[in-house]
């Protein structure tokens, strides 16, 4: 056996690089910056990259606030990191934001799986997670402040609309990813269907499963005439294409962020006319949303056309700015605790992007008013078909 111990070139290079990194780390810990640091990690790449546009809108809003002189004399340094929709990376990125960058708050964060991974950590550090895009009850904690309506209230809203419009003659179906969001939607739809004596067919799928023919065939076989789809945006077109394959034409319902313009333009028109989408913010272009349109045009000219996801990202930022304003009123310094206390004073807070936000010290789950829209292929955007309506109340 050889006893010559030689380190490979690779090992040597790594030793030097690690040494350099560590010394940089030791030297590079600078003092307090002038701007208030905030940030978030999100799926810039990875399976859920469709949600990234919300982060761009949040950032456009922060930059817009800075351009207008900041809030109570403070300006913001907004740090965005790519977590690839991988919870382990989300935890690492969040640790970097909190431990290294010492951010005041996470703003405009999205993704239930990632939020679950960081939940206990940010709670232990007392870092508020403001304007979170997740309706999952499981992420609810003393420091998470979602702006999405709870998944349950979204599911209930969609089910109620389909039933009221008489689309559920052959029964209601739910095609859902078997994660926490999917299950919350499911239990809400179950309770609404029970109240209205509608037959229910439930079909789960795995994240990223390409061929959903079997799932859709199950729904067709059961004679279901209206289907709610719950999952990340890329699951939506695979479901529709599977329906095309099995010659199935029910009424579809999904949340608006599933309607990605690039994807919608390739789906067959006879399926598109049967699709409904719900959202809970103003549509970009509605009265009072001029700031959003001009800031997006300035900072992200390539991102078109406008979608409700823009408003959702922008709304995260407005909620944070309002909390920051309240926390720093009268010259008080911005602290994490002050932001949390300020958020707990939100009672039916509204602006031109979002309305009816109420947080209490006990619960941060929202049941916002929502509306229904359809895709308009000629303008390549969503068009609303109902006014804002409150979701139905669920039984105990």
């Amino acid at each position: 056996m050889t006893t010559r111990m030689r380190l490979s070139w690779f090992t040597r290079v790594t030793v030097v690089a690690l040494g350099a990194l560590l010394s940089v780390a030791a030297l590079g810990r600078d003092g307090a910056a002038e701007d208030v640091k905030i940030g978030a990690s999100g799926p810039r790449t990875g399976p859920n990259s469709g949600a990234w546009v919300a982060y761009q809108a949040t950032r456009a809003c922060i930059l817009d606030a800075n351009d207008k002189g900041g809030v109570n004399g403070y300006k913001f340094n907004h740090i965005l990191l790519d977590d690839q929709y991988d919870p382990q990376v989300t935890l690492g990125a969040t640790r970097r934001l909190v431990d290294q960058e010492n951010v005041l708050a996470l703003v405009g964060h999205s993704g239930t799986a990632g939020t679950l991974a960081i939940k206990d950590y940010i709670l232990s550090k007392g870092v508020p997670d403001v304007g979170l895009h997740s309706g999952s009850a499981a992420v609810n904690s003393a420091v998470t402040y979602p702006i999405s309506p709870s998944s349950a209230s979204q599911g209930a809203f969609q089910a109620k609309y389909l039933i009221d419009k008489g689309f559920t003659g052959g029964g209601l179906g739910v095609l859902y990813e078997n994660d926490d969001v999917g299950k919350a939607v499911l239990s809400a739809v179950e309770s609404i269907a029970k109240q209205n004596n509608v037959k229910l067919t439930l079909v789960p799928f795995q994240l990223g499963s390409r061929d959903k023919t079997a799932q859709v065939a199950t729904l067709k076989e059961a004679g279901v005439t209206a289907v709610i789809i719950s999952g990340i945006p890329s699951e939506f077109p695979t479901s529709i294409l599977a329906a095309v394959n099995v010659d199935y034409h029910p009424t579809w319902f999904a949340v608006a962020y599933a309607a990605e313009p690039r994807v919608m333009s390739q789906l067959p028109a006879d399926q598109i006319k049967n699709m409904y989408f719900s959202w809970y913010t103003a549509f970009p272009g509605d009265p009072g949303t001029q700031d959003l349109l001009s800031a997006m045009k300035k900072h992200y000219p390539d991102v078109t056309p406008p979608t409700p996801t823009w408003s959702e990202g922008w709304a995260s930022c407005t909620v944070f700015l309002e909390a920051f304003k309240r926390a720093t009123q009268g010259g008080k310094p911005p602290t994490r605790q002050a932001i949390i206390s300020a958020l707990n004073t939100f009672k039916d807070y509204s602006n031109s992007y979002i309305s009816g936000i109420t947080y209490t010290a006990d619960s941060h789950l929202l049941t916002l008013r929502q509306l229904v829209g359809q895709w308009d292929p000629t303008s390549n955007t969503l068009k609303r078909v109902t006014p804002f309506t409150a979701p139905p109340t669920l039984g105990p």
Binding site: F205, R210, T218, S234, T238, N245, D247, V263
Partner: protein
């Protein structure tokens, strides 16, 4: 029910095309080409970008994508794989995995990260069978796949270089006897694999939203098809691909719809426990 089988055959077509591409390379260079899925992704993104941004007709965009992917495969062979032909299998594997990582990172920069969808080039219904409408797109995909596989079979069994390619996996000297250098055999194999990757891309793309990692998932299923068939057998890979495609759809429909990978694992394990060399494999040492 018939639609389920047809859709399963479409999935199976993709697995079969990708698995055969993997085998062609494996026979020539003794390596599982981890970059094959990224080749497929590259071809799909390139064709779609040319079609939507440069407004080329679909056939022209597809043609350019095929040429570009063949070039990419040849480049990989020439720069990384052939110079390492005396390295261990594991080193070769690591290099193709490296190429795959570099390419997927590069593709994110080139093509962006937003989901996109390829247009369906054959809309409408082909024919009706027992009260089910069979979409023309599905029929086209299956027939086109069989045509591509037929061409590959003809290449392997009817041409001199094909004979050399088949021989190469067993004995490099044997191909010299046919009068063809091992270098030429290796290059041809990678070129063929590149073309097959592009073909798989064009056929699968209308059925799946393109994201940067769509094709790494498909790689795992193709890998399963390959192993099921016996690793080096072309026929085996095709049979394995179609078995998995149809079997998975039937299992998801009749039994349980949210454990596809577990089903595939059980099928592969079950077959390998009975036949450790796969359905059509021969006993040979495939040690690392």
């Amino acid at each position: 029910m018939i639609n389920l089988v047809v859709a399963g055959l479409v999935s199976g077509s993709i697995y079969a095309l990708m698995a055969v591409g993997l085998i062609v390379v494996y026979r020539a260079s003794r390596v599982m080409n981890f970059a094959h899925g990224t080749f497929v992704g590259f071809a799909a993104f390139l064709a779609l970008s040319l079609h939507t941004s440069s407004h080329l007709p679909l056939w022209a965009a597809g043609g350019i994508a095929i040429v570009a992917t063949v070039a990419l495969a040849l480049l990989t062979e020439g720069v990384f794989v052939y110079p390492l032909r005396h390295a261990s299998r594991l080193e070769l594997l690591a290099v193709t995995a490296g190429v795959s990582l570099v390419l997927s990172g590069g593709m994110l920069q080139l093509f962006g990260t937003q989901d996109r969808l390829f247009p369906r080039f054959a809309p409408g219904t082909a024919f009706r069978l027992a009260n089910s409408a069979i979409p023309l797109q599905n029929v086209t995909t299956i027939l086109a796949t069989l045509a591509v596989l037929g061409i590959i079979a003809a290449l392997f069994y009817l041409t001199r270089i094909g004979v050399a390619m088949r021989a190469a996996s067993e004995n490099a000297q044997l191909s010299m006897l046919v009068g063809i250098s091992p270098k030429a055999v290796s290059l041809t194999s990678w070129g063929v694999a590149g073309a097959m990757a592009a073909a798989a891309a064009i056929l699968v793309a209308p059925d799946v939203p393109l994201t940067a990692d769509t094709f790494s998932n498909l790689m795992i299923q193709s890998f399963a098809a390959l192993v099921l068939g016996g690793f080096t057998s072309l026929l085996g890979a095709v049979v394995g691909g179609y078995l998995l495609g149809v079997g998975l759809n039937l299992f998801s429909f009749f039994v349980k719809s949210d454990i596809p990978s577990t089903f595939i694992l059980c099928v592969v394990l079950g077959v390998l426990m009975i036949r450790p060399e796969g359905l059509f494999g021969r006993k040979e040492s495939l040690r690392l």
